[in-house]
Symmetry: D2
Amino acid sequence: MVVVMESAAAEEAKRAVINRLEDYGFETHVSTGVHKTIIGAIGVKADFDTREIAVMNGVADVYRVTDPFKLASRNFHVDSTTVKIKDVEIGGDAVAMMIGPCSVESEEQVFELADVVAKSGAKILRGGAFKPRSSPYSFQGMGEEGLKLLRAAADKHNLLVITEVMQIGQIDLVAKYADILQIGARNMQNFALLKEIGASKVPAMLKRGLAATIEEWLMSAEYILSQGNKDVILCERGIRTFEKYTRNTFDLSAIPVVHKKSHLPVVADPSHATGFRDQVPPMARAAVAAGADGLMIEIHGDPSKALSDGPQSLYPQDYLTLVEELRVIAKAIGRKICC
Amino acid sequence: MVVVMESAAAEEAKRAVINRLEDYGFETHVSTGVHKTIIGAIGVKADFDTREIAVMNGVADVYRVTDPFKLASRNFHVDSTTVKIKDVEIGGDAVAMMIGPCSVESEEQVFELADVVAKSGAKILRGGAFKPRSSPYSFQGMGEEGLKLLRAAADKHNLLVITEVMQIGQIDLVAKYADILQIGARNMQNFALLKEIGASKVPAMLKRGLAATIEEWLMSAEYILSQGNKDVILCERGIRTFEKYTRNTFDLSAIPVVHKKSHLPVVADPSHATGFRDQVPPMARAAVAAGADGLMIEIHGDPSKALSDGPQSLYPQDYLTLVEELRVIAKAIGRKICC
Amino acid sequence: MVVVMESAAAEEAKRAVINRLEDYGFETHVSTGVHKTIIGAIGVKADFDTREIAVMNGVADVYRVTDPFKLASRNFHVDSTTVKIKDVEIGGDAVAMMIGPCSVESEEQVFELADVVAKSGAKILRGGAFKPRSSPYSFQGMGEEGLKLLRAAADKHNLLVITEVMQIGQIDLVAKYADILQIGARNMQNFALLKEIGASKVPAMLKRGLAATIEEWLMSAEYILSQGNKDVILCERGIRTFEKYTRNTFDLSAIPVVHKKSHLPVVADPSHATGFRDQVPPMARAAVAAGADGLMIEIHGDPSKALSDGPQSLYPQDYLTLVEELRVIAKAIGRKICC
Amino acid sequence: MVVVMESAAAEEAKRAVINRLEDYGFETHVSTGVHKTIIGAIGVKADFDTREIAVMNGVADVYRVTDPFKLASRNFHVDSTTVKIKDVEIGGDAVAMMIGPCSVESEEQVFELADVVAKSGAKILRGGAFKPRSSPYSFQGMGEEGLKLLRAAADKHNLLVITEVMQIGQIDLVAKYADILQIGARNMQNFALLKEIGASKVPAMLKRGLAATIEEWLMSAEYILSQGNKDVILCERGIRTFEKYTRNTFDLSAIPVVHKKSHLPVVADPSHATGFRDQVPPMARAAVAAGADGLMIEIHGDPSKALSDGPQSLYPQDYLTLVEELRVIAKAIGRKICC
């Protein structure tokens, strides 16, 4: 932490700040210039609230100089993490494809789409059984019945399953059927849920909150990691801005930034980021070109009949065409799609 | 819902849209102009995803014309709701004051502050026993022990207690000690929690999410109301913007807007909105002048020792001075403070 | 400036940073801790691009510790500035009222409204003669004819005139008729215009840009001050956020923040901030309660016929009622309205 | 325009709205449902302020159904526009590369970089001679001397020149040396400048404002087009959000959205969008993959000595490597780089 004293700060104010810092266990170093005095406070206290010092007399500014996360930081863990589940790796050379319907709706639907997923060479089937909906009157998912269908359809093709967990009470149930627990954007700071998923040790994918900074997102990953669960995957799915022609603003710069700040793999979800089918292929291509470690894409055989998010679901054929374009782009940067 | 067709849309495309709308149960009315055809779709389907129509051929734009919430809407419930708990009313002439420490830290602390609360004439004691913290390494609250202290300190002065519930498993425990369950900003779209609090029928205060539109906030209130809990209070606590000199941007315009759109009372929390002690009094005054039905303010006898949010806590004396200013402002708009 | 080196930074990298800083003329102080080395760089270079150092090898973070503005800073000029024009003061005890129509439309209109302004005790007449409109097909203002009418109507009641200047070529013309030059939100970073208005020495009111941080706003004020014009007034008029129920989000916290960071007076404009008539009175009251040094409010005798911004204009009678409420609120914080 | 009346609106209120709409010249169509009455108002008035109707008694909501721009709209001009200047096309199959230093600094610098530009196969040299800087104390550009150097260096290799114009008084001077006039993000709503550049008929590139919606951006393009200048190019350069780890948020979804809404070509500027050199290559690749019609990228032979934006400038060698990656990506979507 670095504390900058106001030009006019009295000696006594400076001493008070130094004493307070030392009470908190920091080692202090003082640099005195003509206009400003700077106090360096050395000592890692990731959770220190810098406002404690900022409100003291004579303090002009306070800067935290250590990232507020540790286990999620690349400083702490220099090599990139590869999450390995059965024979699938997320974070390696191959861009992992997580494909399937928004919601599981029927046996026929999920088996038909799992066929498409397998045909494309993707290794992970996605699908929602518990759905977070902004209206209490909307379809809330098939529940355990949906989980069973997902698992059966995935097993037919030897695919992994990723699906969302919305509350602590569902973790054991979902983990019975799924390989990866998805934590939705609206739950990114549901700290109780993060801790329990950390304790479960089941691989987890943490979506970025609608208005979460990358720093907060990594702090939420820290919650999971701090409970001993090392298999954490991040997922960028668009942030909220003032723009009205898109559902969200897809923050693709987050991909190189996460790769610099953290060792965790980061997946991109162009379906939720854009909200409209015709924007999914260009943004999926852009995400691979930007270095995403995976893509999560929604598909549906008859989107106009989908019980949720039909308008952003690709038709199977359009998805298969997109995969071919992605193969060329991945190759241009030394990667491949799936396998 | 109103559907605007593109100028060049074929007759067949128009018919397809009309058929789809009728399949969904809407009654349709078509207006044909020189440049545009407009299709009005009448029928209340609060949760209809307008993108379903937006992605059809020939469609230029779709507008939902009904608010996506119903029980929370002033159209549905014209008179303002007053939440009555024991002898306290929230939403009436008196501006309700919810005052106390950020976290309950000790018996001495909470009793000392409850004395200040009672002295000011306020009727509601706030204090956190379960704390949502962005870092897993920060103080997480005293738990049930804190709840007991809060209740005892409140009972000494016949005050109500408001405190936060972070997960479903805590509802019964917290309701045993508290009069009002607070739902934090980060849980505003934790739909599973909202439903259970709705079912509990315990009065609840729903804080606005950091990046929630007023519409989404009212839809989350709808989740609670839809389970039969009519005692819902809203709380504006600042939204996330690009500005860096303040912790959040206090959206005071939300107060008149909520009063227009909804019948529910709305409280303002200048402590969390600004994050700094010196900004709390001007913003508390502004909130009352803007018509807030209550204020939630953090106080602490020795903020530099507070285990959380000390920098935004008022000293008891400054709080008492503020209350006197607030009395004059409330009177200017025909209201009063507390009682 | 403070430079934090990565834990693993080589000695050579540290020396390179120190050398570079000294080349730029900074005096350096090094603090070495167990995990981090911190380099303090003393020397005021308000415009130094900290990214120059941030991209060097081994650098973890760089913090600027001096505000990037000087003449606008309260550090530089401790006493609050009062802008005095004829017998009117802006920034003193009285809250200055700048009242009038959005656009000057006719002689009758502006004289009628100037009567209302004078009747309320306000001292400054506002009105647009050159209008910045987002569509090229909208009414663009009456030009010089409008300026003449404004001046004449103001002179009848001994009022000051404030009106907008949109381009360098209009400065002399507008200054011939107006007492205060208004710089609109969309021109806040039209640096060429700022410099020329600075050189003109005519009192100027600088509106905050739609997406400008308070820091950038003060840097734009610095442009005007740096040319020798000391009579600068700031005006908060709402910022752009994700919220859709209001036109802009009125950032009232900016008022105490500006008062802390700068010595310049700050006015609030609830008409543009909210965009709707019914939100103007609560937000005007809130602005005075928050400590605004002035209010800019649009009024119109027949808003439904106004050539611009009718929906946010108050009826004269509602404005007069509002002023009475404002008098009570101003008194509660030791101020008065106008005089 | 579509007007939705409140459920409880009186017949008289409906008639008043219909009369007002007809006064404005709209043709009206009324649809009456059980709960709502919807009034369709047909007639193209691109600049109509819908708030005029929104504030009338009994009105629940008003929706504009026509885009507020016309000449910039794809509805009006179905085929994509290709801006042709000498033998260069922007908006065709080839992705146009606009490459060069942030600021022109010396003859040696600009000639050296023009060599790199030509070597890469790019056809357009960029460089600033008049610089908009947020601090009045920063380097403001070489002025006409810089323009002369740019032209000479471009002519050596038969390149086009693009450079920024900051004020009306500079248009003729800049047009003497440049092929494309760049309008900076901070001037996107400097309407006086837009009109004059429109009247000049010189090809223009309009950068998106920091907080401009895509709709407002297209309305600013409309200002230029409305004066008879058809050669308008758009440029996405990042928008302002709450994220702090990047300078701006690069809104790549704007590319497919602009292509859908407008016929104008759209270029992407990853240098300004990200602000840091290491993020430029991934974002440049992403922009091409997303369908950008051109890229604007800053390069510098010795970025640590650059007078502006050194930290975001690529080294020439890294730029040349990037171009090879871009060629593969462009091919994957049926395009090519430059020629």
